[in-house]
């Protein structure tokens, strides 16, 4: 496999010398050390930028997605894709799709839009820094970094929040899992290192830190 893609967080993760794996031609941190599991339970921060994602917007986007058999979530919410992964509705006519490691929907959408150019559908390239926050102290971290009241959200309704975190525009969605509610966060990749460093600093004060993907999605503990 040719690893020619690089996460916006690659170099900061590399400084922690993790055990590496690969997703979609991109090196990903599988495990930082034996403390990953403990940190995940307390406050774990994982880099999920390697997951394939693509977006679209425009007045024809809903009809086009429906024609592809893709579920349309309500505005400011998200839904699971049939092949795994999620579709997030970022606005009235704007969507982002993200595949699980073995999913193909987002990649398929990207390929179709590169060829078809249907009327009123505008492809949106997503090269985000994508994070997952896990553990019991997530709310404490969110309260230090974001003025939005995430406690008021019901994860079961699959809400999605567009807000700012430590001064960076982010998309946040809480995900209910067997291990509790995790938070997925996406931001422009060029803010990725800043966001990572800032969240990690706070996480360390809360006895958390970076965690690899082994504990999250590669061993079946997916969203």
């Amino acid at each position: 496999m040719s690893l020619i893609r690089k996460s916006p967080l690659h170099d900061v993760a590399a400084a922690l010398q993790p055990e590496w794996g690969a997703i979609n031609d991109m090196p990903v941190a599988l495990q930082f050390d034996h403390g990953d599991g403990q940190r995940m339970a307390t406050l774990g921060i994982a880099d999920l930028s390697g997951l394939w994602r693509h977006g679209l917007k425009g007045p024809g986007s809903i009809a086009w997605l429906e024609a592809q058999g893709i579920v349309i979530p309500a505005v400011n919410s998200w839904a699971e894709l049939a092949e795994g992964g999620l579709i997030a509705r970022l606005g009235r006519t704007e969507f982002m799709l993200e595949d699980e490691p073995n999913g193909t929907t987002a990649r398929r959408v990207q390929s179709l839009l590169a060829v078809e150019r249907p009327y009123g559908v505008y492809p949106v390239l997503h090269q985000d820094a994508a994070l997952m926050l896990t553990g019991t102290a997530v709310q404490r971290l969110l309260r230090q970094t974001c003025s939005f009241n995430f406690m008021a959200l019901d994860a079961a309704t699959q809400p999605l929040v567009l807000t700012t975190m430590v001064g960076v525009a982010v998309t946040v969605l809480p995900v209910a899992t067997a291990d509790g509610v995790h938070s997925r966060i996406w931001c422009d990749g060029t803010y990725g290192e800043y966001l990572w460093h800032t969240l990690l600093d706070i996480a360390h004060e809360l006895d958390g830190g970076a965690v690899g993907l082994n504990y999250l999605i590669l061993e079946g503990k997916s969203q």
Binding site: K6, P8, G120, Y122, S147, V166, G167, D188, T190, Y191
Partner: protein, 972 residues
Amino acid sequence: MRLKAIPGEWIDRSSEVEFSFEGHAYRGYRGDVISSALWAADVRLLGRSFKYHRPRGILSLANHDINALMQAGQRLNVRADVEPLAAGQQWRAVNTFGNLQRDSGRWLNHLAKFLPVGFYYKAFHTKALFPLWERLFRRLTGLGKLDFDTPHLRTPKDYDFCDVLVIGAGPSGLSAALAAADAGAEVVIVDENARAGGSAAYQRGGKAERYQRVNELLNSVVRHPRIRLLTSTTAAGYYADHWVPLVDEQKMTKMRAKSVVAATGAFEQPAVFHNNDLPGVMLASAAQRLIYRYAVQPMQNAVVLAANADGYRAALDLAVNGIKVAALVDLRGKQAPSRLADAVQACGINIFHAHCVLEAEASADGNGVAAAIIAPFDAEGNADAASTLRIPCDGIVMSVGWAPTANLLYQAGTQMQFSDAVQQFIPAQLPDGVFACGRVNGIYDITQKYSDGERAGRDAAAYVGYESATTLPQIAAETESPSHAWPVVAHPKGKNFVDFDEDLQLKDFENAVQEGFDNIELLKRYTTVGMGPSQGKHSNMNALRILARLTHKSPGQVGTTTARPFFHPVPLSHLAGRGFSPERLTPLHHRHQQLGAVFMPAGIWQRPEYYAQPGQSRTDCIRGEVAAVRHQIGIIDVGTLGKIEIYGPDAAEFLERVYISRYANLKIGMTRYAVMCDESGVIIDDGVVGRLGEQHFYFTTTTSGAAPIYRELTRLNTLWQLDCGLVNLTGAMAAVNLAGPKAAEVLAPLTELNLALTEFPYMAIRETEVAGIPARLMRVGFVGELGYEIHVPATYADALWQALWQSGQAHGIRAFGVEAQRLLRLEKGHIIIGQDTDGLTTPLQAGLNWALKMDKPFFIGQRSLQIVAQQPLQQKLTGFVLAAGYSGTVPQECHLIIEQGDIAGRITSIAWSPSLQRHIGLAFVRPDLAVENGAIAIRLSDGSMVNARIQPTPFYDPKHSRQHYPAQEVAA
């Protein structure tokens, strides 16, 4: 002296705490504050006053004892009246010279007559003496000694949320919290004290009932699942939409409440009489706090100065705890019989109606009270100094009135009005979602306070949608005023203090008003009343009463000064908190680091200014990078440029409207320079527009313009309702510029694209692959050489860089930074928006007429430019050169061009050109001077002049021959 154990006391008698003060060792208990522990050890001198260095002790014991500020190491100006006692601390009083007892600043007390009100202003009036006074004041003023090695404290900041925020956990606040929570609201209640309960816990009137009732209420609050009680937490300000910063020892929490209940209570106010600042003269509530919180005897033999029922209760609290009360002096005339008065008299306490304390007689050492001199006091507030009575005592307890803690209400926009009935300002109209109860609402009767709190809590809950079914309680009016209208006694010797922070006496106010400062805002600034660390919490109300009397107005007519956040001093570490300064890095940042880049901020980005080379100066490094581009091959990260796509049938029309040039006729596969103006015709951005399809364009903006330009274009698209859509790819696409005569040779092995000029001409755009990576290539030439701007998805940027770097090794590839780029573009005469233009520059002034298509139906700024074009040009951007071989001081950007003594222009860019071997630059000059080879004179910072000559741009390769290359396909 410690009293025997008292129910509800805060101290833990099983845990002794050792500490020192002014070098002497003391012991207190866990739960003590510094002042209570010292007072228990019979220490009366706790500090010195700010101006006169007079001895001071406990006044309020409520976080406002500004004359008992202390320092321990790097912790300075700690308020001893609320600072919890901790083992091993070594405290010293601030604002002393030498030590507290023998403070050499004491002599200032004897110079009071030479330090009149407004002394600072008067001293600085004489210019010649300014330095003398400045040195003196700098030496005398300031509290505490700052240690500049104090480490930077990083404190977190929290956001928090609730339905109802109750500020103040006294009887009314607790009642409000419970009522709101019972109605269904999520409630947070905060109190600055270490424990909740408020005045009901210590204003007991000699009985246990008040304490027991508030304790039962507190237990209900603590147990309630929808109430969070935060003690030792100050609600420090009020901001729009019920945003209240909550400050505790560790951090600041930004509380966003849906409604707010102010149960903030009232500050007890001192009486004004001669020597009212001696240690041993204290507010009644301070004495009661000493007794019931810390089990400390405030004094042995007290005189109580009262003007309300609280004073009578204070006398009873003293009496039942073994303190002899020599007399109760009531400013008021004979009152109607009451059970309180009967109880006082039953304790054997003699009551003097219509009397005042004329002065406190100092003890022999001057650090305490020996007696109270009382005198008859008539209804107009005049003391009969001829009929005095000396009552020996070691302490005077003052209970003459209150001032509402209405700061947050004022900040919220509450309209307050002065109530003669209770002699204080009370809310007349509260903002939406803000409620008040208890003393701040003018309610003092304890039973009424509970009812008022319940009412406010239920109102607040109802405001956020939690209605209660039961009837709201009725609140009865107060039967007597809790505050005296004139608790002020004149004295020929003065030293009857109104403001204890600033040592302001009654006569200071009289003099200020006489000098014309007869408005409350002017009076505040001239006298500095209320400008000390306690911010007037004990002085503003008396100052207001004094001003009202002096100007023959009512207190309501005088009004109050503006209450601004913060209500209470907040540590700078809390305000600063953790720094959140967003920073953007391109995906190639670490490549630049590996190459030794020296970074510079470019807006929110970090960009390589140049790449440091071992043993080379900055200038040599930059010139080396320039040489690489001119003679071989250079590569620069231009990923910070704004990158936007537009799709749709109206995409071309949209671009026609936002840029000054024409794009409807742009061929697919070609690019065109793009200048954007605002509606006044001023240049705000530039970039390149490329056409990828009939309905598909890809265009760039400046680095700094990326975010605002996209935002503005989105706004315009919404406004115009054109059939097109914008996609911001600034962060999603990385970009590098490969520039130099070897660019084609470096690129050719990595792509199947035919790079021949005929196939990929200058200003063309192509979508292809480079090193197997999907890419967009633009043949642009900002730096004046053959160049390829290569745009790829950001995750591929590193792979692209590696491939180009490897391919370029055989050609001597070198990374170049922003400084080299600036120089290269200057040689080419290309402008930088924001450097070579300013907030008034039009395309006509910048020499961009060639790009301006005024015959278009419409573009933003067109109408203004039509008008501007009718006027003569005021300035014109033009090139200039210094003389070859010039070796003097080089002019800098913004240096002025002078013509016959007048300003005739300014330099916007200047640099040494390696290609031309002389200094070149761009400047705005008067049009009549902008003639080829014309002479201009540039004034340096030292006033000397440098001659230069106008030269057309481009300075380098004016025929652009270096960009029309290669003619043939390049071998891979």
